[in-house]
């Protein structure tokens, strides 16, 4: 197998249960280098848990997580940290540090990771803030003074500031108006293509999945039940995927509603 065939990220048989409740139940997923993968799936199916397992924030029960062909779960602590240091993450709720200014938030990873000087990191932070359409004066504000859309953009800036080789976006456009959503999608595509990074994006928004993704996968009941080109997701031929992408009430997915 040549190097080009090794996917940047390869997940095999990933399992994670909380208590007796299995959340991930044998997830298999490949993401080729330089491409973006969109993951869709119902609320609570474990999309965020999947990303957190790859990031090492949650310890999976079983399975393999390979980055560049190397199973990071078997690596030593140090090597594992190094492998994960090249992943940038946009958290579902932003997770901005509210005790710091916006500029310190964006510069945080640069200072912690590259040991670059504060001044240089702040300069870079202003540049990245500019790339996500925020004026340098926003850098002096604290995150709580920003609107939800601005917070998302700051979180995006923080995730991409150190130009990581792998980027995760957990529902980057949820809760934004359609125009702002399109803007954020554009920014994501922009920086993924510009940096040649590999990306996994989680979204509930079909329009957004078409804009961001090269390929798409659907997580359902702990497994990837469909994987293919993102452009085909609306005509996948899989009844479960169809019900989800078209938002139909009737179909194979039974919502568990209790009254």
């Amino acid at each position: 197998m040549s190097a080009a065939d090794i996917p940047k990220i390869r997940i095999r048989g990933l399992r994670k249960a909380f208590g007796s409740k299995p959340v991930l139940d044998g997830v298999d997923l490949d993401v080729a280098a330089g491409t973006s993968m969109v993951v869709i799936g119902g609320s609570g199916t474990g999309k965020s848990v999947l990303l957190k397992c790859i990031l090492g924030l949650i310890e999976p029960d079983a399975g393999r997580i390979e980055i560049d062909g190397q199973d990071i779960l078997t690596l030593g602590r140090r090597a594992r940290q190094d492998a994960r240091a090249e992943i940038g993450m946009l958290f579902q709720n932003g997770a901005l540090f509210d005790s710091m200014t916006v500029r310190d938030n964006v510069a945080f990873g640069l200072i912690a990771r590259h040991q670059s000087s504060r001044a240089a990191a702040h300069q870079k932070a202003d540049t990245v803030l500019g790339q996500v359409g925020l004026a340098p004066s926003v850098g002096d504000l604290s995150p709580s003074e920003l609107s939800g859309g601005m917070q998302k953009r700051v979180a995006l800036a923080r995730a991409i500031a150190s130009e990581p080789a792998i980027m995760f976006f957990d529902e980057p456009t949820t809760g934004l108006d359609p125009i702002m959503g399109a803007v954020i999608d554009g920014l994501i595509v922009d920086c993924v293509k510009r940096l040649g990074s590999t990306a996994i994006a989680i979204t509930h928004d079909m329009a957004s999945s078409q804009r961001i993704g090269d390929r798409a996968a659907m997580l359902h009941k702990g497994r990837i039940i469909w994987e293919g080109p993102a452009a085909q997701i609306l005509e996948s031929g899989n009844p479960i995927v169809d019900q989800f992408t078209h938002g139909r009430r009737e179909g194979p997915i039974q919502m568990e509603l209790r009254r």
Binding site: K52, L55, G56, L57, Q81, R84, A85, I87, G88, M89, F91, Q92, N93, A95, L96, F97, D98, F108, G109, A112, R113, R158
Partner: protein
């Protein structure tokens, strides 16, 4: 038969959960202590923690200590004046404040103030994924969040207790001279004569331990909180309860070891 088994099972489960928490706390404490010594260091965060825990707590600790000194003087006057010389009151105030009341009252006030603040702050960071975010930005939360707070607790408490000692004795002095009409100079001489280095040192040793315990409780419960705002609330409560109980229990333990040999 089944009912008995159920009771046994419940007790057993509780005991196991208890041991598990104690073990987790011990590991957390050791890990936090190790991170105090290993680089990188975060002096700015230590400064901020010491400002919050020490400086901002000064007024409340000062007030508590003054009133404690005052009430001891008053109580011992009504209780002892019939038998003892007036000089006994200075001795009683000085010893009880430095040995017990200074560290214990400051400890309890800090448990409610600093312990709760730490638990709430770290708890909020936990449930809003900020602690996870730190980790993805190549920063160890134990080192960045916990170690500076533990160190701040260890450093700030003795300083607060020294101030509490002085103000407690001052409280006794005020009541004795103003209300009871003692001679001020004699009172101070009696106080100084009563104090031995051992008393003050033990008080400060207690302060170091209490400061560590309070910061540890706050960090431990905040760090492990989950479940949104409610989780942060119960983490804060647990931190204050644990810190207060441990302060009182360790106070007894240390007194037992050092004074009754």
């Amino acid at each position: 038969m089944n009912a008995i088994l159920n009771v046994v099972a419940t007790i057993g489960r509780g005991a196991i959960a208890c041991c598990r928490s104690a073990g987790a706390l011990a590991i957390f404490a050791v890990e936090g202590l190790i991170h105090i010594f290993l680089p990188p260091y975060y002096p700015r965060l230590f400064g901020r923690a010491i400002f919050g825990m020490g400086f901002l707590s000064l007024p409340v600790v000062a007030l508590t200590a003054i009133f404690a000194g005052m009430v001891i003087a008053l109580q011992s006057y009504t209780g002892f004046a019939r038998y003892a010389a007036q000089s006994q009151i200075a001795t009683i105030v000085a010893l009880s404040v430095t040995r017990e009341l200074g560290p214990v009252l400051a400890g309890l006030m800090m448990a409610g103030r600093a312990g709760a603040a730490m638990a709430a702050e770290l708890g909020t960071m936990r449930v809003t994924d900020q602690i996870d975010a730190l980790q993805t930005l190549s920063t160890k939360p134990m080192k960045y969040l916990v170690a500076p707070r533990l160190l701040a607790g260890i450093v700030a408490m003795p300083i607060l207790v020294i101030i509490a000692d002085i103000l407690g004795v001052l409280g006794g002095f005020i009541v004795s001279t103003v209300k009871l009409g003692f001679n001020g100079q004699t009172y101070i001489q009696d106080s100084l004569a009563a104090l031995h280095t051992g008393d003050v040192t033990l008080g400060l040793a207690k302060a170091v331990v209490f400061g560590f315990i309070i910061a540890l409780s706050g960090c431990f419960h905040g760090y492990r909180s989950r479940g949104g705002a409610e989780g942060v609330g119960s983490a804060t409560t647990s931190a204050v309860v644990m810190a207060s109980v441990l302060v009182l229990a360790l106070d007894y333990g240390m007194t037992e070891v050092f004074f009754t040999r």
